[in-house]
């Protein structure tokens, strides 16, 4: 057997042995056996003296090639082995991933706040800014200036909490606002002669028995636009945007004639019932429709009381409510849950 053959034999044997080295120790032993200072391949270099001058370079080249190959194979095997060992170690350190995480308790915004924010956002995109007015209101602002004189049947629409006044002045009687509409008068008187686009939110109060459907305190939000060319179709279009953005696209809407003392013409906007999809159910009184908002063109008397000449200006107003839209959206059947502040309810939102 030539030295060359011997070298190739060692090479093949080393490669084969490497494959069976399945632990770090075996791998180290292999290295010592073949590539160590006294390893089989290393020892082969000493055989170079037995070769002729012509053969020597060729042998030297070959032995280097084999060394490099074996070093590379060793490195690869060593890396694979380490990875496998790490993997085994990790596998022995498992947890039950179904156990609950360390509790983190973020807070929750009140559902009313969330609903108001959505409404502000929707109308904000259409140029409406938020304007706030007081809870305790002058009777004139809550009623008379809005075209609702004393004893007028229109007043029946609101049961009122009156403030106990030590020295009651006939024109300065105070009440808890029954709606956010007095804000219309306040913003008009403040802003004239600017055009107006505002959203008026706030707590309102009614002297009504408290039931699942009615609370003595609730939120309202209404919109008011006053300008030179504002129309009923603008009102309907604006409310359509609201329905699309608040309830999602694809809802059917209808517009009915209605009555409010401070608008003329007055309308009511309905949307197909969320609960029954329009087929008719108890909630929608078997009509398939749910009221979304009362609205209308600002009554000439109200414009005039606000300082705007009704021959020159027009405007619209609408009130989509706050709790009711949320109740419809989430299927809440009892309005008392809003201000009863049971956190088991609040934390759902």
């Amino acid at each position: 057997m030539s030295i060359f053959d011997e070298l190739e034999g060692i090479h093949a044997e080393a490669l084969q042995a490497l494959e069976t080295a399945a632990s770090s120790a075996a791998l180290d032993a292999w290295y010592t056996q073949y590539l160590g200072r006294k390893g089989a391949v290393t020892l082969q270099t000493r055989s170079i003296g037995k070769l002729s001058q012509e053969e020597r370079p060729e042998f030297g080249k070959r032995i280097n090639e084999i060394k490099q190959q074996l070093e590379a194979a060793y490195a690869a095997q060593s890396q694979a082995l380490k990875a496998a060992e790490l993997e085994a170690a990790l596998m022995s350190d498992t947890i039950d991933i179904t156990l609950p995480g360390r509790p983190v308790n973020p807070g929750h915004l009140h559902l009313t706040t969330q609903t108001l924010r959505q409404i502000y956002d929707i109308f904000g995109r259409m140029g409406f800014e938020v304007y706030e007015a007081p809870d305790v209101e002058l009777e004139t602002y809550n009623f008379d200036l809005l075209n609702i004189p004393d004893y007028h049947p229109a007043r029946d629409m609101w049961d009122t909490f009156w403030i106990d006044q030590k020295q009651p002045a006939p024109d300065g009687r105070l009440l808890l606002r029954t709606h956010t509409s007095p804000g219309q008068m306040r913003v008009m008187r403040e802003r004239y002669p600017e055009p107006i686009r505002v959203i008026l939110p706030g707590k309102c109060y009614r002297y009504e028995q408290i039931t699942a459907r009615s609370e003595h305190q609730f939120y309202q939000v209404e919109g008011l636009a006053v300008g030179k060319h504002i129309t009923m179709t603008d009102l309907i279009g604006t409310l359509t945007q609201f329905v699309n953005l608040f309830y999602g696209p694809g809802h059917k809407m209808r517009v009915r004639s209605s009555y409010f003392p401070f608008t003329e013409p007055s309308i009511e906007v309905d949307m197909d019932c969320i609960l029954c999809g329009g087929a008719g159910c108890r909630v929608c009184k078997y009509t398939g429709w749910l009221e979304i908002a009362g609205a209308g063109m600002v009554h000439p008397v109200v414009l005039k009381n606000g300082g705007y000449d009704p021959d020159e200006w027009s405007g619209f107003a609408f009130g989509p409510g706050v709790e009711r839209p949320a109740m419809m959206k989430y299927g809440i059947s009892d309005i008392r849950l809003f201000y009863g502040n049971d956190l088991r309810f609040a934390q759902q939102f």
Binding site: L99, P100, R102, N105, P106, G107, L109, H110, Y120, G127, E129, V130, E132, P134, D135, V136, Y151, P153, A154, M157, W162, I163, D164, Q165, A169, G172, L174, L176, R189, R191, E194, P195, I196, R197, Y207, H216, Q217, G227, H229, T231, M232, T233, D234, I236, G237, Q241, R254, V255, R256, S257, F260, E264, P265, K285, M297, S314, Y339, N341, D342, L343
Partner: protein, 848 residues
Amino acid sequence: MKIPLSWIQDYVNVKDVPVQELRKRLDLAGLEVDSITAIGYPEAELPWDPEKIITAEVIAVRPHPDADRLVLADVNYGGAAPEIVVTGAPSLYEYRGSSDLHLKVAFAWEGAELYDGHVQGWTKRRLKKTEIRGIASRAMVGSEKELGLAEEQTDIIYLPGDTPVGVPLVEILGDYILDFDIKGPFGHLQSVFGIAREIAALLNRPLSPQPLHAAARLGLAATGEPGFVSLEIQDPDLCPRYTAMMIRDLAIGVSPLWMQLRLRRAGMRSINNIVDITNYVMLELGQPLHAFDYADLRALPGEETPAIIVRRAREGEQMQTLDGEVRTCDEEMLLITDGGGPVAIGGVMGGLDSEVAPETRNVLLEAASFNFINIRRTSQTLKLFTESAGRFGKRVDSELALAAAARAAELMAALAGGTVDVVAGDLYPGKPEPVILTYSPDRADRILGVVIPRDEQKRILAALDFRSEATNAGSGWQIAVPSYRLDVTRPVDLVEEVARVWGYDHFPHTLIDEPVPPLRRNLQLEGEDRIRDILIRLGLDEVITYSLIDPADEDRLNPNPGQALDLPGEPVALRNYLSLERSLLRRTLLPGALRTAWSNLRFQESIAIFEIGHIYYRVGNPKPEQAETGIAEPRRLLMLLSGPRQDRWQEPTDRRPVDYFDLKGIVEALLRNLGLETASQWTRVSHPAYHPGRSGAVEIAGRALGVIGEIHPLVREVFDLPAQPVVVLDWDLDLLLALAQEAGRQKKAQNISIYAPVHEDLALVVAEATPALAVQRAIIEAGYPLVIQALLFDIYRGPQAGEGKKSLAFALTYQSPSKSLDERDIEKLRQRIVKQLARKLNAVLRSA
């Protein structure tokens, strides 16, 4: 307002219109139908099978061969031979032995479903063939109860004599009752005829004016001096018209079935034929009527003819009304009086003394017109809410009075055998001027944003009885408003009429085509929302509690009566309230928060909440000219924590109850977010509601924000809270936001140093009373700008610190913006700090 569709059918044909379709049209036109109740029709509670429940005729009644109480009725139901029915109906029993009868009845075959007439409430049963004492019976004659028309079991139903035989009963007595919810002061919609008029206009169909023309049918003449009564109106401002008619020789009795059914379906009870007729005409036309027993009306002294004088009451004048109550009037109330005194509170309720009674023979029928505001005032003042007052309060057309009186008189003649005096009394001092409005179709377009064809507008107005006058000058149309449309006073009211009948569903959708008005920020709301967002990130839930609280809650916050509870301004209470617990406007958010804590801690072990809301107190008198209410409504921020610091978990967690420092940590994070952390001053104060040793006041820039601390154990007990610390912050939100805004304006970015920081611990011994915050701030100040952090990590009290002293250990971080600090720099810095603290706070460096 309940209206039977069968009644509407008297004036406008709606037979071919499906009732749901009709409802839709009415809803869209603003006549909202709240509900529809079917009677007899398939959607009814008890549908009447048209095959099995039909009209029939009892032609003979024979004795039962084997039972004394029962009879055999031969019933012609339209078949070849009469059907024999065994019955115990008392009124048929009376006919025993008679033949050649024509009694029209409701007839039910076996298999028909009916209510059981012999049990309370509504129990359905299916009619079965029976054999009663040897005689088979396959059918029955029905009562109102069995058909679901009356609650109580009564006699069998007798239908009008002209009822055809063998037709489904539902065609004769079936009905739909429309319950309208009409908002607003619309007198013209308070009647069957008024609704029929709307329907006729909406469907573009003819309307029968028959009920309005009774005066002509009677050949009635009207005069101020009718002879049978002497009339006077002393206060025409409150009574613009008073009419009276005389009906003689009446027989008081029971109303016919059709009238009883109509009244009942409209929600009224049947009393007797005279009262029923006044109610019937009120429902039909909307005009309240009152019938006086003529025999009870007195003449003025020295006169023969009874008198009716309409005048304001004298202060304190009393009368006994129909309901038996004695009413005391004031000077603004209107009375109907006779020669002897009050006989009615005008338009509200009649007097007991002149009530129609079974023995009444002659009736004076009143149909008047009253000032609607005054009626409402009287009704509200006396708390006397009658059908009459309700209708007058929504305005009744004064032109209607005599027509309605004539209509009722005509019915009294027909149904109670009376004779009508053909001269009526009629005083009409307040006859209104006709209302003519100038309607501009262009203006309508401008308001509506849609061009409705001119001829369509004309057609709609005409259909609603708005007559266009011949003089159509310029672009405006002169429109005459019918007398009953008291709600139409401005051209814009006509725009609404056109729009609603044309239909809003035809309107295009547009958006405002104008420049956006000048934009403004709402800093108040932005500020609130910023705080909300920070606090929910810190784990607090937002609550919104009631503005109205129990007045006693203010006292409950003050367990030591000697101490004054410092609430701002004068309290604001309600004059009328639902309950005392909701009768005072809050001057503090604290009771609401404590009650929220109480209600939630029953269900969960911990709570972390905040509220942003207004408080209310009186600061002065209202100034309406300046739009000022005299009530301050500042905003407050309240936070409350209670319960274990951490939830349970599979490994041990920190289950100690939250305390002052948990809340303070949140507050510090909030202040940091608002750029206010370094400015706050914390001082211990005592506030009656708080633990005296664990509460403090916080100031920024010399301005008091409010309190933070643990709730006083006695207050906690009064509010029934569990025995664990409840920590609360109660601050002036307006001030906090103003300070945050100021800080925001001055905020400048800080450069970040690239040089390595050096860390060092420093322990300083100070007097026990020296606040840690003062030491920490002094270190930062002394080392400025190189000490970038001084974190207190240990407090030691003991022999090594000395009596009355404590040692505070701080972890300091030194860092320069411009260089690496070396040992010499640090040494210098340390000495500076120690020297300054010794001078300022008598602090001594604790030897290591």
